[in-house]
């Protein structure tokens, strides 16, 4: 199996902040908005270096989304920053009408996605945001896997015309993809070639999938691992090519299985080449307070759960 090294755990939101710093220095059209969460979004450096290109809107996310839409009229590229819940559910119709339907070039950047924000609990732990965003026509949905990839994705989406939802998180997770990688929107990354099963993962569950694949290898099971950082548009070709070879799939995401990556993959498969699939996702539930590791364990999102799902799907081949 191909070897990946964790160069030290880092939070993906800091990758976003680092990407914003780069954009501040390289793209004069990039502007940032934040709703009283500068520290959490790690954008202080961007603000210090470009104070006139930053808008503190206060605790008023709906206003922020509308303002972002307006800023595009005149050629600005607005990046909005708040928690994932307040970036999506809170402001769905503002995004729908003023951004998505109006075709505005707004980058909705969402931190603290999923269960692993931890102790704040369910009011903050959105597990429905991928679904909400992927249902909007024209919306691109990206969930990078680590610090380096989040930084690269942040930089890349400034060049991508159209509305984008960029999802990242609070906990420190393994940082294992190359520094200064080029990020290609919509292009899956084949991390490990395998023959028995395809694991398609997004976000920090990509690392969990690699850990699972390693453990499976020791048991004589060869797992192909795909990092599907872009959930929409989905790299159907990569998925179909892999499943043609392995004949079964496990999808893994920190999200409800309703509306998540798994359903998008299932749709591609049933339309082209039906194959058994197991879902690593939360099971139609709200979250709760706890440490990230406890929550990953309790809600079945870690490498052990992926391993089990693989063993299950293999029996269904």
């Amino acid at each position: 199996m191909k070897k990946y090294t964790d160069t030290g755990k880092k939070d993906t939101r800091s990758g976003f902040g680092a990407g914003m710093t780069v954009l501040g220095r390289t793209n004069p059209n990039v502007v940032a908005l934040c709703a009283d969460l500068i520290g959490s979004l790690k954008i202080q450096e961007f603000i210090d270096e470009n104070p006139e290109r930053f808008f503190q809107v206060g605790i008023a996310e709906a206003n922020m989304m509308g303002m972002a839409a307006g800023l595009t009229i005149g050629g600005k590229i607005p990046f909005t920053g708040t928690f994932a819940n307040f970036s999506t559910g809170r402001v769905y119709d503002q995004i729908r009408q003023s951004i998505a339907y109006s075709g505005k070039n707004v980058k909705i950047c969402a931190s603290h996605a999923g269960l692993t924000l931890g102790e704040d609990g369910a009011t903050h732990q959105i597990l429905e945001d991928i679904g909400l965003m992927k249902m909007l026509p024209g919306m691109t949905v990206i969930n990078p896997c680590d610090y380096n990839q989040t930084k690269a994705a942040t930089i890349a989406i400034a060049e991508h015309e159209g509305p984008v939802y960029l999802r990242f998180g609070r906990p420190s997770v393994a940082n294992f993809t190359p520094e200064d990688q080029k990020f290609e929107v919509g292009k899956a990354i084949l991390l490990n070639e395998g023959t028995d099963v395809t694991i398609i993962a997004t976000g920090h569950l990509v690392w969990e999938s690699l850990l699972a694949a390693e453990a499976l290898e020791a048991k004589g099971i060869s797992a192909e691992v795909i990092n599907i950082h872009t959930i929409k548009p989905l790299d159907e070709e990569a998925i179909l090519a892999s499943v043609a070879k392995t004949g079964c799939v496990v999808t893994a995401e920190e999200h409800n299985y309703y509306g998540g990556l798994g359903e998008s993959v299932a749709r591609v498969l049933v339309k082209n080449q039906p194959a058994p699939q197991e879902f690593i996702a939360t099971n139609d539930t709200f979250g709760e307070s706890g440490t990230p590791a406890q929550l990953m364990e309790k809600y079945g999102l870690n490498n052990k759960a992926i391993e089990k799902a693989v063993e299950k799907v293999l029996k269904r081949k």
Binding site: C34, D36, Q56, G58, I59, E119, G121, A122, T123, H124
Partner: protein
């Protein structure tokens, strides 16, 4: 009814609870909790008319809604010490499988909580709905709510403020924790809100101020006064001037402790300033 010394002792104990709760899990929101301690202690022990047992509908008693759900530590401590649930349960705050979630929820069935909060700006609408239900039920009790001042930046509040005045929701007292602080700094630096009193008045509310929101007598007297203003065709707003982090000298007058827990050494210092009165959980 209790005397002032007893209520001050309770406040000190609640402060210890808040500090120990957030310290244990190294997360949570001590600043606003400490600042609103006298308010919660007064409300639950001197102001609201409450039944002995909690039930969701709360018919025949006053109701309270916490809109700024992040100050759950003070809410949980005061509820526990009022007897809504065992005081020992405070030790489970923010831990997995606990009823004491980071932000208050009904999901785990914790007595005393009637709606989830945490995502800011939603509590006033809920409180208005509950006040309207009381009117429909011919229940003469009042509805109370608490909101952060930064929280008022959310537009939904102003929809609610407009409604409550237009439709004379006069069995309702909304209190604002007027501490002048939010996450990124002073409210005046983040998004200045101007003169809140004039704004509420312009929307048609009866507004009063409690200048010493961390003085238990001032809070009790102020809230009693607010009660007398209900039933007169206008919703009542109380601007409660508090100090974020009140009772712990190094946490006061700054936003720095909005959502940060003390370390071991800081906890010790903070507890020394609030000696045990009713017994730690």
């Amino acid at each position: 009814m209790s005397n002032i010394q007893q209520l001050n002792d309770l406040s000190t104990q609640v402060r210890r609870d808040i500090l120990r709760m957030v310290h244990k899990v190294n997360s949570g929101h001590p600043g606003g909790s400490l600042g609103c301690t006298e308010f919660f202690v007064s409300l639950y022990n001197e102001i609201m008319e409450l039944k002995d047992e909690f039930d969701m509908d709360g018919i025949g008693e006053d109701l309270f809604f916490l809109s700024n759900g992040h100050i759950s530590p003070v809410f949980y401590s005061v509820l526990a010490r009022k007897g809504y649930f065992p005081v020992e349960e405070l030790s489970t705050f923010r831990m997995i499988d606990s009823r004491l979630q980071g932000h208050p929820t009904t999901h785990e069935g914790l007595p005393g909580i009637r709606v989830a909060s945490g995502s800011l700006g939603q509590g006033m609408s809920v409180a208005i709905g509950a006040a309207l239900a009381k009117k429909l039920n011919k229940d003469n009790h009042l509805v109370y709510s608490l909101h952060g001042d930064g929280e008022l930046q959310e537009g939904q509040n102003w929809e609610a403020i407009m409604y409550a005045a237009a439709y004379k929701v006069d069995n309702y007292i909304a209190t604002v924790d007027y501490n002048g602080q939010q996450i990124d700094g002073a409210t005046d630096d983040v998004l200045p809100m101007g003169d809140l009193k004039t704004k509420f008045e312009a929307f048609g509310w009866d507004v009063m101020e409690i200048k010493e929101g961390n003085n238990i007598e001032a809070v009790i007297n102020g809230m009693k006064e607010a009660r007398t203003r209900t039933g007169k065709g206008k919703p009542v707003c109380v601007l409660l001037h508090t100090v974020m982090g009140h009772g712990v000298d190094f946490m006061m007058y700054t936003h720095a402790w909005h959502g940060k827990a003390p370390n071991d050494e800081q906890l010790e210092k903070a507890l020394a300033q609030n000696p045990e009165t009713l017994g730690d959980y």
